[in-house]
Protein backbone atom coordinates (compact mmCIF):
# COMPACT_ATOMS: atom_id res chain seq x y z
CA UNK A 1 0.00 0.00 0.00
CA UNK A 2 2.72 2.46 0.98
CA UNK A 3 4.61 1.59 -2.19
CA UNK A 4 1.49 2.26 -4.24
CA UNK A 5 0.90 5.64 -2.60
CA UNK A 6 4.54 6.54 -3.04
CA UNK A 7 4.45 5.57 -6.70
CA UNK A 8 1.33 7.65 -7.29
CA UNK A 9 2.91 10.58 -5.47
CA UNK A 10 5.97 10.45 -7.73
CA UNK A 11 3.70 10.25 -10.78
CA UNK A 12 1.73 13.28 -9.58
CA UNK A 13 4.91 15.26 -9.02
CA UNK A 14 6.12 14.38 -12.54
CA UNK A 15 2.83 15.55 -13.99
CA UNK A 16 3.15 18.87 -12.18
CA UNK A 17 6.69 19.39 -13.46
CA UNK A 18 5.70 18.45 -17.03
CA UNK A 19 2.77 20.87 -16.96
CA UNK A 20 4.89 23.66 -15.53
CA UNK A 21 7.41 23.28 -18.37
CA UNK A 22 4.71 23.10 -21.05
CA UNK A 23 2.74 26.03 -19.71
CA UNK A 24 5.70 28.23 -18.96
CA UNK A 25 7.11 27.92 -22.47
CA UNK A 26 3.69 28.21 -24.11
CA UNK A 27 2.76 31.32 -22.16
CA UNK A 28 6.16 32.84 -22.87
CA UNK A 29 4.98 33.10 -26.46
CA UNK A 30 2.00 35.33 -25.58
CA UNK A 31 2.73 38.72 -27.08
CA UNK A 32 5.07 41.23 -25.48
CA UNK A 33 3.73 42.28 -22.06
CA UNK A 34 6.09 45.26 -21.91
CA UNK A 35 4.34 46.89 -24.88
CA UNK A 36 1.11 46.81 -22.93
CA UNK A 37 2.52 47.85 -19.57
CA UNK A 38 4.67 50.79 -20.59
CA UNK A 39 3.08 54.03 -21.75
CA UNK A 40 4.58 55.17 -25.10
CA UNK A 41 6.12 58.38 -23.66
CA UNK A 42 8.39 56.52 -21.22
CA UNK A 43 12.13 56.81 -21.87
CA UNK A 44 14.19 53.89 -23.11
CA UNK A 45 16.11 53.73 -19.83
CA UNK A 46 12.96 53.43 -17.76
CA UNK A 47 11.73 50.81 -20.17
CA UNK A 48 14.85 48.74 -19.70
CA UNK A 49 14.60 49.16 -15.93
CA UNK A 50 11.07 47.75 -16.00
CA UNK A 51 12.10 44.82 -18.21
CA UNK A 52 14.89 44.09 -15.75
CA UNK A 53 12.59 44.40 -12.76
CA UNK A 54 10.09 41.95 -14.28
CA UNK A 55 12.94 39.57 -15.03
CA UNK A 56 12.12 39.59 -18.75
CA UNK A 57 15.74 40.30 -19.75
CA UNK A 58 16.86 36.81 -18.75
CA UNK A 59 16.72 33.85 -21.16
CA UNK A 60 13.49 31.88 -20.86
CA UNK A 61 15.06 28.78 -19.31
CA UNK A 62 16.56 30.96 -16.58
CA UNK A 63 13.18 32.59 -15.99
CA UNK A 64 11.70 29.12 -15.72
CA UNK A 65 14.34 28.04 -13.24
CA UNK A 66 13.69 31.09 -11.04
CA UNK A 67 9.97 30.35 -11.26
CA UNK A 68 10.47 26.72 -10.27
CA UNK A 69 12.65 27.55 -7.28
CA UNK A 70 10.18 30.17 -6.07
CA UNK A 71 7.22 27.87 -6.75
CA UNK A 72 8.67 25.27 -4.40
CA UNK A 73 8.64 27.98 -1.73
CA UNK A 74 4.96 28.66 -2.49
CA UNK A 75 5.59 31.84 -4.49
CA UNK A 76 4.21 31.62 -8.02
CA UNK A 77 5.32 35.09 -9.06
CA UNK A 78 3.98 38.64 -9.07
CA UNK A 79 1.32 39.93 -11.42
CA UNK A 80 2.66 42.29 -14.11
CA UNK A 81 -0.55 44.29 -14.12
CA UNK A 82 -1.66 44.34 -10.48
CA UNK A 83 1.79 44.20 -8.87
CA UNK A 84 0.70 41.78 -6.14
CA UNK A 85 1.65 38.12 -5.62
CA UNK A 86 -0.45 36.02 -8.00
CA UNK A 87 -1.30 33.41 -5.39
CA UNK A 88 -3.07 35.97 -3.24
CA UNK A 89 -4.67 37.49 -6.36
CA UNK A 90 -6.13 34.13 -7.36
CA UNK A 91 -7.09 33.14 -3.83
CA UNK A 92 -8.94 36.44 -3.43
CA UNK A 93 -11.12 35.39 -6.38
CA UNK A 94 -11.63 31.87 -5.08
CA UNK A 95 -14.72 32.51 -2.87
CA UNK A 96 -16.68 33.97 -5.79
CA UNK A 97 -16.02 30.93 -7.97
CA UNK A 98 -16.48 28.52 -5.11
CA UNK A 99 -19.92 29.79 -4.11
CA UNK A 100 -21.01 29.60 -7.75
CA UNK A 101 -19.80 26.00 -8.09
CA UNK A 102 -21.24 25.00 -4.72
CA UNK A 103 -24.69 26.35 -5.48
CA UNK A 104 -24.79 24.85 -8.98
CA UNK A 105 -23.61 21.44 -7.77
CA UNK A 106 -26.25 21.40 -5.02
CA UNK A 107 -28.93 22.44 -7.47
CA UNK A 108 -27.84 19.79 -9.97
CA UNK A 109 -28.03 17.07 -7.31
CA UNK A 110 -31.34 18.19 -5.79
CA UNK A 111 -33.06 18.26 -9.18
CA UNK A 112 -31.01 15.65 -11.03
CA UNK A 113 -31.22 12.70 -8.64
CA UNK A 114 -35.04 12.55 -8.33
CA UNK A 115 -35.48 13.03 -12.08
CA UNK A 116 -32.91 10.32 -12.74
CA UNK A 117 -34.72 7.93 -10.38
CA UNK A 118 -38.00 8.69 -12.12
CA UNK A 119 -36.50 8.06 -15.56
CA UNK A 120 -34.69 4.94 -14.42
CA UNK A 121 -37.67 3.25 -12.78
CA UNK A 122 -39.87 3.38 -15.87
CA UNK A 123 -37.42 3.74 -18.72
CA UNK A 124 -40.04 3.36 -21.45
CA UNK A 125 -42.67 5.73 -20.13
CA UNK A 126 -43.40 9.02 -21.83
CA UNK A 127 -42.09 11.30 -19.05
CA UNK A 128 -38.88 9.28 -18.86
CA UNK A 129 -38.28 9.69 -22.55
CA UNK A 130 -38.94 13.41 -22.26
CA UNK A 131 -36.40 13.61 -19.42
CA UNK A 132 -33.79 11.68 -21.39
CA UNK A 133 -34.34 13.87 -24.45
CA UNK A 134 -33.97 16.86 -22.13
CA UNK A 135 -30.58 15.59 -21.00
CA UNK A 136 -29.30 15.51 -24.60
CA UNK A 137 -30.42 19.12 -24.93
CA UNK A 138 -28.78 19.94 -21.60
CA UNK A 139 -25.49 18.52 -22.86
CA UNK A 140 -25.81 20.10 -26.28
CA UNK A 141 -26.42 23.75 -25.51
CA UNK A 142 -23.08 25.58 -25.58
CA UNK A 143 -22.52 27.11 -22.16
CA UNK A 144 -21.92 30.66 -23.38
CA UNK A 145 -25.01 30.77 -25.58
CA UNK A 146 -27.19 29.25 -22.87
CA UNK A 147 -25.96 31.92 -20.47
CA UNK A 148 -26.76 34.66 -22.95
CA UNK A 149 -30.24 33.29 -23.50
CA UNK A 150 -30.83 33.18 -19.74
CA UNK A 151 -29.82 36.84 -19.56
CA UNK A 152 -32.03 37.68 -22.54
CA UNK A 153 -35.04 35.93 -21.02
CA UNK A 154 -34.80 36.67 -17.30
CA UNK A 155 -32.99 40.01 -17.33
CA UNK A 156 -33.71 41.81 -20.59
CA UNK A 157 -37.20 40.53 -21.44
CA UNK A 158 -38.69 39.83 -18.01
CA UNK A 159 -36.48 42.11 -15.93
CA UNK A 160 -36.54 39.75 -12.94
CA UNK A 161 -32.85 39.22 -12.33
CA UNK A 162 -29.67 41.27 -12.73
CA UNK A 163 -27.58 40.75 -15.86
CA UNK A 164 -24.09 40.68 -14.43
CA UNK A 165 -21.81 41.11 -11.44
CA UNK A 166 -21.79 39.69 -7.98
CA UNK A 167 -24.07 42.04 -6.11
CA UNK A 168 -23.87 42.79 -2.42
CA UNK A 169 -21.53 40.62 -0.35
CA UNK A 170 -21.16 40.12 3.39
CA UNK A 171 -18.26 38.77 5.39
CA UNK A 172 -18.79 35.24 6.64
CA UNK A 173 -15.93 33.63 8.58
CA UNK A 174 -13.75 36.36 7.14
CA UNK A 175 -14.70 35.59 3.54
CA UNK A 176 -16.80 37.87 1.37
CA UNK A 177 -19.78 35.91 0.08
CA UNK A 178 -22.99 36.58 -1.82
CA UNK A 179 -24.77 33.61 -0.31
CA UNK A 180 -26.30 35.52 2.60
CA UNK A 181 -27.70 38.65 1.00
CA UNK A 182 -30.85 38.84 -1.10
CA UNK A 183 -29.10 40.95 -3.68
CA UNK A 184 -26.17 38.53 -3.81
CA UNK A 185 -28.49 35.55 -4.20
CA UNK A 186 -30.36 37.29 -7.00
CA UNK A 187 -27.05 37.74 -8.79
CA UNK A 188 -26.12 34.13 -8.16
CA UNK A 189 -29.22 32.48 -9.64
CA UNK A 190 -28.53 32.83 -13.37
CA UNK A 191 -24.81 32.01 -13.43
CA UNK A 192 -25.20 29.02 -11.14
CA UNK A 193 -28.17 27.76 -13.14
CA UNK A 194 -26.09 28.07 -16.30
CA UNK A 195 -23.29 26.09 -14.69
CA UNK A 196 -25.70 23.51 -13.23
CA UNK A 197 -27.57 22.44 -16.38
CA UNK A 198 -24.94 20.14 -17.96
CA UNK A 199 -24.21 18.57 -14.58
CA UNK A 200 -27.89 18.06 -13.96
CA UNK A 201 -28.09 16.23 -17.29
CA UNK A 202 -25.08 14.12 -16.35
CA UNK A 203 -26.53 13.32 -12.95
CA UNK A 204 -29.89 12.29 -14.47
CA UNK A 205 -28.14 9.97 -16.93
CA UNK A 206 -25.98 8.37 -14.25
CA UNK A 207 -28.81 7.85 -11.79
CA UNK A 208 -31.21 6.60 -14.48
CA UNK A 209 -28.70 4.08 -15.84
CA UNK A 210 -27.80 2.95 -12.33
CA UNK A 211 -31.43 2.57 -11.29
CA UNK A 212 -32.42 0.57 -14.36
CA UNK A 213 -29.52 -1.77 -13.75
CA UNK A 214 -30.05 -2.04 -10.00
CA UNK A 215 -33.73 -2.96 -10.38
CA UNK A 216 -32.74 -6.19 -12.14
CA UNK A 217 -30.28 -7.21 -9.41
CA UNK A 218 -30.87 -10.15 -7.12
CA UNK A 219 -31.02 -8.10 -3.96
CA UNK A 220 -33.96 -6.14 -5.35
CA UNK A 221 -35.75 -9.32 -6.41
CA UNK A 222 -35.08 -10.77 -2.99
CA UNK A 223 -36.41 -7.71 -1.20
CA UNK A 224 -39.50 -7.82 -3.39
CA UNK A 225 -40.03 -11.52 -2.66
CA UNK A 226 -39.72 -10.68 1.03
CA UNK A 227 -42.61 -8.26 0.57
CA UNK A 228 -40.70 -5.01 1.07
CA UNK A 229 -42.65 -2.07 -0.28
CA UNK A 230 -41.40 -0.53 -3.53
CA UNK A 231 -40.83 2.87 -1.97
CA UNK A 232 -38.56 1.31 0.63
CA UNK A 233 -36.70 -0.78 -1.95
CA UNK A 234 -35.97 2.29 -4.04
CA UNK A 235 -35.18 4.59 -1.13
CA UNK A 236 -33.09 2.23 0.95
CA UNK A 237 -31.54 -0.31 -1.36
CA UNK A 238 -31.40 1.08 -4.87
CA UNK A 239 -30.58 4.68 -4.06
CA UNK A 240 -27.74 3.76 -1.71
CA UNK A 241 -26.10 1.57 -4.30
CA UNK A 242 -26.29 4.03 -7.16
CA UNK A 243 -25.03 6.92 -5.06
CA UNK A 244 -21.48 5.53 -5.04
CA UNK A 245 -20.72 6.27 -8.72
CA UNK A 246 -22.66 9.53 -8.44
CA UNK A 247 -20.49 10.74 -5.57
CA UNK A 248 -17.35 9.78 -7.51
CA UNK A 249 -18.45 11.74 -10.54
CA UNK A 250 -19.49 14.71 -8.44
CA UNK A 251 -16.01 14.79 -6.96
CA UNK A 252 -14.35 14.69 -10.35
CA UNK A 253 -16.80 17.15 -11.90
CA UNK A 254 -16.05 19.63 -9.15
CA UNK A 255 -12.67 20.17 -10.74
CA UNK A 256 -13.96 20.63 -14.26
CA UNK A 257 -16.66 22.97 -13.01
CA UNK A 258 -13.90 25.33 -11.98
CA UNK A 259 -12.67 25.17 -15.58
CA UNK A 260 -16.10 25.67 -17.10
CA UNK A 261 -16.87 28.49 -14.74
CA UNK A 262 -14.46 30.48 -16.94
CA UNK A 263 -17.12 30.69 -19.65
CA UNK A 264 -20.00 31.36 -17.29
CA UNK A 265 -18.02 33.98 -15.41
CA UNK A 266 -17.18 35.72 -18.69
CA UNK A 267 -20.82 35.83 -19.78
CA UNK A 268 -22.07 37.10 -16.41
CA UNK A 269 -19.01 39.27 -15.58
CA UNK A 270 -18.70 37.25 -12.39
CA UNK A 271 -15.51 38.32 -10.58
CA UNK A 272 -14.19 34.80 -10.01
CA UNK A 273 -11.00 32.96 -10.91
CA UNK A 274 -12.13 32.13 -14.44
CA UNK A 275 -12.76 35.79 -15.26
CA UNK A 276 -9.33 36.57 -13.84
CA UNK A 277 -7.78 34.02 -16.22
CA UNK A 278 -9.50 35.48 -19.28
CA UNK A 279 -8.65 39.05 -18.29
CA UNK A 280 -5.04 38.06 -17.65
CA UNK A 281 -4.80 36.43 -21.08
CA UNK A 282 -6.04 39.65 -22.70
CA UNK A 283 -3.71 41.81 -20.59
CA UNK A 284 -0.72 39.51 -21.27
CA UNK A 285 -0.30 39.06 -17.52
CA UNK A 286 1.87 35.95 -17.89
CA UNK A 287 2.48 35.15 -14.19
CA UNK A 288 -1.26 34.98 -13.49
CA UNK A 289 -1.91 32.66 -16.44
CA UNK A 290 0.94 30.34 -15.45
CA UNK A 291 -0.07 30.34 -11.79
CA UNK A 292 -3.74 29.71 -12.63
CA UNK A 293 -2.89 26.70 -14.76
CA UNK A 294 -0.48 25.38 -12.13
CA UNK A 295 -3.07 25.70 -9.36
CA UNK A 296 -5.73 24.08 -11.55
CA UNK A 297 -3.32 21.24 -12.34
CA UNK A 298 -2.54 20.84 -8.66
CA UNK A 299 -6.28 20.59 -7.98
CA UNK A 300 -6.82 17.93 -10.66
CA UNK A 301 -3.76 15.95 -9.66
CA UNK A 302 -4.79 16.06 -6.01
CA UNK A 303 -8.37 14.95 -6.77
CA UNK A 304 -7.14 12.10 -8.98
CA UNK A 305 -4.63 11.05 -6.38
CA UNK A 306 -7.23 10.97 -3.60
CA UNK A 307 -9.75 9.11 -5.78
CA UNK A 308 -7.16 6.48 -6.81
CA UNK A 309 -5.94 5.93 -3.27
CA UNK A 310 -9.50 5.74 -1.92
CA UNK A 311 -10.38 3.18 -4.58
CA UNK A 312 -7.38 1.12 -3.60
CA UNK A 313 -8.41 1.30 0.04
CA UNK A 314 -12.07 0.56 -0.57
CA UNK A 315 -11.78 -2.03 -3.32
CA UNK A 316 -9.17 -4.71 -2.72
CA UNK A 317 -9.49 -5.84 -6.33
CA UNK A 318 -7.58 -2.77 -7.52
CA UNK A 319 -4.08 -3.87 -8.41
CA UNK A 320 -1.51 -2.36 -6.10
CA UNK A 321 1.55 -3.90 -7.68
CA UNK A 322 2.22 -0.74 -9.63
CA UNK A 323 1.96 -2.43 -13.00
CA UNK A 324 1.25 0.04 -15.72
CA UNK A 325 -2.03 -1.43 -16.86
Amino acid sequence: MTAYILQRLIQSALVLVAVSVAVFFAVYGIGDPVELLVPPQVSAAERLALIKRLGLDLPVWQQYFTFLVNALKGDLGTSFVHGVPVVSLILARLPATFELVLLSMTGAAVIGIPLGLLAGLNPDSRPSRAIMTGTVIGFSLPSFWKGMMLVLLFSVALGWLPTAGRGETVAFLGIQTSLFTTDGLRHLILPSLNLAIPNMALMIRLVAAGTTEAMTQDYVKFARAKGVRRRRIVGRHVLRNILIPVVTVVGIEFGSLVAFSTITETVFSWPGMGKLLIDSIYQLDRPVVVAYVMLATLLFVAVNFIVDVLYAVLDPRVKLSGDMV
Binding site: A26, L141, F144, M148, V293
Partner: protein, 299 residues
Protein backbone atom coordinates in the same frame (compact mmCIF):
# COMPACT_ATOMS: atom_id res chain seq x y z
CA UNK B 1 -32.88 -6.93 -27.28
CA UNK B 2 -35.70 -9.04 -25.94
CA UNK B 3 -37.44 -9.47 -29.26
CA UNK B 4 -36.66 -12.60 -31.23
CA UNK B 5 -34.40 -11.87 -34.13
CA UNK B 6 -36.26 -12.37 -37.36
CA UNK B 7 -34.03 -13.88 -40.02
CA UNK B 8 -33.21 -11.28 -42.58
CA UNK B 9 -32.31 -12.20 -46.13
CA UNK B 10 -30.17 -9.15 -46.74
CA UNK B 11 -26.46 -9.23 -46.25
CA UNK B 12 -26.18 -6.51 -43.64
CA UNK B 13 -28.75 -6.97 -40.90
CA UNK B 14 -26.87 -4.61 -38.60
CA UNK B 15 -27.07 -1.76 -41.05
CA UNK B 16 -30.80 -2.36 -41.47
CA UNK B 17 -31.27 -2.41 -37.73
CA UNK B 18 -29.47 0.88 -37.33
CA UNK B 19 -31.38 2.53 -40.14
CA UNK B 20 -34.65 1.22 -38.75
CA UNK B 21 -33.66 2.62 -35.35
CA UNK B 22 -33.21 6.03 -36.92
CA UNK B 23 -36.31 5.90 -39.07
CA UNK B 24 -38.66 4.65 -36.38
CA UNK B 25 -37.83 7.28 -33.79
CA UNK B 26 -39.31 10.66 -34.61
CA UNK B 27 -36.65 12.63 -32.70
CA UNK B 28 -33.79 10.84 -34.39
CA UNK B 29 -35.43 11.03 -37.80
CA UNK B 30 -36.06 14.74 -37.37
CA UNK B 31 -32.48 15.24 -36.23
CA UNK B 32 -31.16 13.31 -39.24
CA UNK B 33 -33.17 15.34 -41.73
CA UNK B 34 -32.20 18.59 -40.01
CA UNK B 35 -28.53 17.63 -40.05
CA UNK B 36 -28.66 16.84 -43.75
CA UNK B 37 -30.32 20.20 -44.45
CA UNK B 38 -27.73 22.12 -42.41
CA UNK B 39 -24.86 20.37 -44.18
CA UNK B 40 -26.39 21.15 -47.58
CA UNK B 41 -26.90 24.79 -46.60
CA UNK B 42 -23.28 25.05 -45.50
CA UNK B 43 -21.95 23.37 -48.64
CA UNK B 44 -23.99 25.54 -51.00
CA UNK B 45 -23.73 28.72 -48.92
CA UNK B 46 -22.01 30.75 -51.68
CA UNK B 47 -24.89 29.94 -54.04
CA UNK B 48 -27.70 30.53 -51.57
CA UNK B 49 -26.49 33.50 -49.54
CA UNK B 50 -27.85 36.86 -50.73
CA UNK B 51 -24.52 38.52 -49.93
CA UNK B 52 -20.86 37.60 -49.51
CA UNK B 53 -20.26 38.52 -45.86
CA UNK B 54 -16.46 38.39 -46.28
CA UNK B 55 -16.46 40.95 -49.07
CA UNK B 56 -16.51 44.22 -47.17
CA UNK B 57 -17.06 46.15 -50.39
CA UNK B 58 -20.58 44.76 -50.77
CA UNK B 59 -21.53 45.75 -47.21
CA UNK B 60 -23.20 49.03 -46.49
CA UNK B 61 -22.46 50.49 -43.07
CA UNK B 62 -25.64 52.51 -43.45
CA UNK B 63 -27.51 49.24 -43.03
CA UNK B 64 -25.96 48.38 -39.67
CA UNK B 65 -27.99 46.80 -36.88
CA UNK B 66 -31.26 46.67 -38.76
CA UNK B 67 -34.04 44.60 -37.21
CA UNK B 68 -35.20 41.35 -38.86
CA UNK B 69 -37.39 41.96 -41.87
CA UNK B 70 -36.03 45.47 -42.48
CA UNK B 71 -35.40 46.63 -46.04
CA UNK B 72 -31.91 47.65 -47.10
CA UNK B 73 -30.94 50.91 -48.77
CA UNK B 74 -30.94 49.05 -52.08
CA UNK B 75 -34.38 47.56 -51.52
CA UNK B 76 -33.63 43.93 -50.63
CA UNK B 77 -34.98 42.57 -47.34
CA UNK B 78 -32.79 41.45 -44.41
CA UNK B 79 -34.90 38.60 -43.10
CA UNK B 80 -32.83 38.10 -39.96
CA UNK B 81 -31.56 41.66 -39.66
CA UNK B 82 -27.99 42.92 -39.91
CA UNK B 83 -25.02 43.12 -37.57
CA UNK B 84 -22.87 46.05 -36.51
CA UNK B 85 -21.03 46.13 -39.85
CA UNK B 86 -24.24 46.03 -41.82
CA UNK B 87 -23.75 42.38 -42.71
CA UNK B 88 -26.86 40.42 -43.66
CA UNK B 89 -27.37 37.89 -40.87
CA UNK B 90 -28.72 35.19 -43.20
CA UNK B 91 -25.51 35.29 -45.24
CA UNK B 92 -23.32 35.56 -42.17
CA UNK B 93 -24.99 32.51 -40.62
CA UNK B 94 -24.68 30.44 -43.80
CA UNK B 95 -20.97 31.22 -44.09
CA UNK B 96 -20.51 30.81 -40.34
CA UNK B 97 -22.08 27.37 -40.58
CA UNK B 98 -19.46 26.53 -43.21
CA UNK B 99 -16.57 27.58 -40.97
CA UNK B 100 -18.01 25.77 -37.95
CA UNK B 101 -18.61 22.54 -39.86
CA UNK B 102 -15.21 22.73 -41.54
CA UNK B 103 -13.43 23.13 -38.22
CA UNK B 104 -15.54 20.37 -36.64
CA UNK B 105 -14.94 17.86 -39.43
CA UNK B 106 -11.24 18.54 -39.99
CA UNK B 107 -10.34 18.51 -36.32
CA UNK B 108 -12.32 15.33 -35.71
CA UNK B 109 -10.62 13.70 -38.68
CA UNK B 110 -7.21 14.76 -37.41
CA UNK B 111 -7.86 13.64 -33.85
CA UNK B 112 -9.33 10.37 -35.11
CA UNK B 113 -6.28 9.61 -37.26
CA UNK B 114 -3.77 10.34 -34.52
CA UNK B 115 -5.82 8.64 -31.82
CA UNK B 116 -6.42 5.49 -33.88
CA UNK B 117 -2.74 5.24 -34.80
CA UNK B 118 -1.66 5.70 -31.19
CA UNK B 119 -4.25 3.27 -29.84
CA UNK B 120 -3.41 0.64 -32.43
CA UNK B 121 0.32 0.92 -31.75
CA UNK B 122 -0.25 0.70 -28.02
CA UNK B 123 -2.41 -2.41 -28.37
CA UNK B 124 -0.12 -4.14 -30.84
CA UNK B 125 3.28 -3.37 -29.37
CA UNK B 126 2.40 -3.44 -25.66
CA UNK B 127 5.15 -3.08 -23.09
CA UNK B 128 6.95 0.22 -22.81
CA UNK B 129 5.34 1.80 -25.88
CA UNK B 130 1.90 0.96 -24.54
CA UNK B 131 2.76 2.29 -21.08
CA UNK B 132 4.18 5.49 -22.49
CA UNK B 133 1.27 6.18 -24.84
CA UNK B 134 -1.33 5.44 -22.18
CA UNK B 135 0.41 7.66 -19.61
CA UNK B 136 0.26 10.53 -22.09
CA UNK B 137 -3.39 9.72 -22.78
CA UNK B 138 -4.24 9.71 -19.06
CA UNK B 139 -2.39 12.96 -18.69
CA UNK B 140 -4.30 14.61 -21.54
CA UNK B 141 -7.67 13.33 -20.38
CA UNK B 142 -7.00 14.63 -16.89
CA UNK B 143 -7.51 18.20 -18.02
CA UNK B 144 -10.68 19.93 -19.16
CA UNK B 145 -10.26 20.44 -22.89
CA UNK B 146 -11.40 24.05 -22.78
CA UNK B 147 -8.59 25.04 -20.43
CA UNK B 148 -5.86 23.39 -22.51
CA UNK B 149 -7.14 24.84 -25.77
CA UNK B 150 -7.61 28.28 -24.21
CA UNK B 151 -4.05 28.56 -22.92
CA UNK B 152 -2.60 27.09 -26.12
CA UNK B 153 -4.50 29.48 -28.38
CA UNK B 154 -3.70 32.40 -26.14
CA UNK B 155 -0.04 31.81 -26.91
CA UNK B 156 -0.21 30.94 -30.62
CA UNK B 157 -2.91 33.44 -31.59
CA UNK B 158 -6.07 33.25 -33.64
CA UNK B 159 -6.59 31.31 -36.86
CA UNK B 160 -8.73 28.53 -38.31
CA UNK B 161 -5.70 26.23 -38.62
CA UNK B 162 -4.64 26.97 -35.05
CA UNK B 163 -8.09 26.22 -33.67
CA UNK B 164 -8.14 22.92 -35.55
CA UNK B 165 -4.71 22.10 -34.14
CA UNK B 166 -5.85 22.92 -30.60
CA UNK B 167 -8.96 20.74 -30.91
CA UNK B 168 -6.94 17.82 -32.30
CA UNK B 169 -4.55 18.16 -29.37
CA UNK B 170 -7.33 17.92 -26.79
CA UNK B 171 -9.39 15.22 -28.52
CA UNK B 172 -6.99 12.58 -29.86
CA UNK B 173 -6.43 10.96 -26.48
CA UNK B 174 -10.04 9.89 -26.16
CA UNK B 175 -9.87 8.01 -29.47
CA UNK B 176 -6.54 6.46 -28.52
CA UNK B 177 -7.97 4.99 -25.33
CA UNK B 178 -11.07 3.63 -27.07
CA UNK B 179 -9.10 2.25 -30.01
CA UNK B 180 -6.61 0.50 -27.74
CA UNK B 181 -9.42 -1.10 -25.74
CA UNK B 182 -11.22 -2.50 -28.77
CA UNK B 183 -7.99 -3.53 -30.53
CA UNK B 184 -6.93 -5.46 -27.42
CA UNK B 185 -10.19 -7.41 -27.48
CA UNK B 186 -9.89 -8.04 -31.21
CA UNK B 187 -6.28 -9.16 -30.96
CA UNK B 188 -7.22 -12.17 -28.84
CA UNK B 189 -9.46 -13.56 -31.56
CA UNK B 190 -8.48 -16.61 -33.57
CA UNK B 191 -8.24 -15.03 -36.99
CA UNK B 192 -5.48 -12.75 -35.76
CA UNK B 193 -3.73 -15.75 -34.27
CA UNK B 194 -4.11 -17.51 -37.61
CA UNK B 195 -2.67 -14.53 -39.44
CA UNK B 196 0.29 -14.45 -37.06
CA UNK B 197 0.88 -18.17 -37.57
CA UNK B 198 0.74 -17.70 -41.32
CA UNK B 199 3.78 -15.53 -40.85
CA UNK B 200 2.12 -12.38 -42.17
CA UNK B 201 4.11 -9.25 -41.36
CA UNK B 202 2.96 -7.37 -38.25
CA UNK B 203 2.27 -4.04 -40.02
CA UNK B 204 0.08 -5.92 -42.50
CA UNK B 205 -1.89 -7.62 -39.73
CA UNK B 206 -2.35 -4.29 -37.97
CA UNK B 207 -3.60 -2.43 -41.00
CA UNK B 208 -5.50 -5.13 -42.84
CA UNK B 209 -7.03 -7.08 -39.96
CA UNK B 210 -6.84 -5.27 -36.65
CA UNK B 211 -7.67 -1.76 -37.88
CA UNK B 212 -10.85 -2.46 -39.88
CA UNK B 213 -12.21 -4.83 -37.25
CA UNK B 214 -11.73 -2.62 -34.23
CA UNK B 215 -12.35 0.87 -35.59
CA UNK B 216 -16.17 0.63 -35.42
CA UNK B 217 -16.62 1.93 -31.88
CA UNK B 218 -14.24 4.80 -32.51
CA UNK B 219 -16.10 5.87 -35.64
CA UNK B 220 -19.43 5.85 -33.81
CA UNK B 221 -18.07 7.97 -30.98
CA UNK B 222 -16.55 10.39 -33.49
CA UNK B 223 -20.06 11.44 -34.61
CA UNK B 224 -20.76 12.87 -31.19
CA UNK B 225 -17.27 14.31 -31.02
CA UNK B 226 -17.86 16.39 -34.15
CA UNK B 227 -20.52 18.13 -32.07
CA UNK B 228 -18.15 18.68 -29.17
CA UNK B 229 -15.43 19.92 -31.53
CA UNK B 230 -17.88 22.45 -32.97
CA UNK B 231 -18.93 23.51 -29.46
CA UNK B 232 -15.31 23.89 -28.43
CA UNK B 233 -14.52 26.01 -31.48
CA UNK B 234 -17.56 28.21 -30.85
CA UNK B 235 -16.62 28.64 -27.19
CA UNK B 236 -13.01 29.53 -28.03
CA UNK B 237 -14.17 32.01 -30.64
CA UNK B 238 -16.60 33.47 -28.13
CA UNK B 239 -13.75 33.94 -25.65
CA UNK B 240 -11.80 35.76 -28.36
CA UNK B 241 -9.06 33.22 -29.04
CA UNK B 242 -10.67 31.23 -31.86
CA UNK B 243 -11.20 31.96 -35.55
CA UNK B 244 -10.11 35.36 -36.94
CA UNK B 245 -12.64 38.18 -37.31
CA UNK B 246 -12.29 38.02 -41.08
CA UNK B 247 -13.74 34.51 -41.20
CA UNK B 248 -16.42 34.45 -38.52
CA UNK B 249 -17.76 31.10 -37.36
CA UNK B 250 -21.11 30.83 -35.62
CA UNK B 251 -19.39 31.25 -32.26
CA UNK B 252 -17.75 34.51 -33.28
CA UNK B 253 -21.03 35.84 -34.69
CA UNK B 254 -22.65 35.16 -31.32
CA UNK B 255 -19.77 36.88 -29.53
CA UNK B 256 -20.21 39.93 -31.76
CA UNK B 257 -23.90 40.00 -30.91
CA UNK B 258 -23.26 39.71 -27.17
CA UNK B 259 -22.34 43.40 -27.00
CA UNK B 260 -25.74 44.37 -28.36
CA UNK B 261 -27.82 41.85 -26.44
CA UNK B 262 -28.49 44.07 -23.45
CA UNK B 263 -29.64 46.97 -25.61
CA UNK B 264 -32.36 44.76 -27.08
CA UNK B 265 -30.73 44.05 -30.46
CA UNK B 266 -31.20 40.36 -29.83
CA UNK B 267 -31.03 39.07 -33.42
CA UNK B 268 -27.28 39.49 -33.84
CA UNK B 269 -26.62 36.87 -31.14
CA UNK B 270 -29.80 34.81 -31.13
CA UNK B 271 -30.06 33.63 -34.73
CA UNK B 272 -26.46 32.41 -35.16
CA UNK B 273 -26.91 30.79 -31.76
CA UNK B 274 -30.02 28.95 -32.93
CA UNK B 275 -28.15 27.71 -36.00
CA UNK B 276 -25.31 26.50 -33.77
CA UNK B 277 -27.64 24.79 -31.31
CA UNK B 278 -29.59 23.06 -34.10
CA UNK B 279 -26.33 21.82 -35.63
CA UNK B 280 -24.95 20.52 -32.35
CA UNK B 281 -28.22 18.96 -31.23
CA UNK B 282 -28.88 17.18 -34.50
CA UNK B 283 -25.35 15.76 -34.41
CA UNK B 284 -25.82 14.69 -30.80
CA UNK B 285 -29.17 13.01 -31.39
CA UNK B 286 -27.92 11.11 -34.43
CA UNK B 287 -24.66 10.23 -32.69
CA UNK B 288 -26.42 9.09 -29.53
CA UNK B 289 -28.73 6.82 -31.54
CA UNK B 290 -25.81 5.36 -33.50
CA UNK B 291 -24.00 4.69 -30.25
CA UNK B 292 -26.96 2.86 -28.81
CA UNK B 293 -27.69 0.91 -31.99
CA UNK B 294 -24.10 -0.30 -32.15
CA UNK B 295 -24.05 -0.68 -28.38
CA UNK B 296 -20.86 1.29 -27.90
CA UNK B 297 -19.96 2.23 -24.37
CA UNK B 298 -17.98 5.30 -23.43
CA UNK B 299 -16.89 8.18 -25.56
Amino acid sequence: MNKPIIPDDTATPLRRKVLRGIRKRPTTRGAGILLACLVLLAVFAPLIAPQNPYDLATLSVMDNRLAPGAASMSGSVYWLGTDAQGRDMVSAILYGLRTSLLVGLLSTLGALTIGVAAGLLAAQLGGMVDALIMRIVDFMLGFPSILVALVLLASVGRGVDKVIFAIILVQWAQYARLMRASALVERRKEYIEAAVNFGLPTPYIMLAHLLPNSIGAVLVVSTINIASAITLEATLSFLGVGVPVTQPSLGLLIANGFDYLLSGEYWIAVFPGLALVLLIMSLNFVGDRLRRSFNVKGG
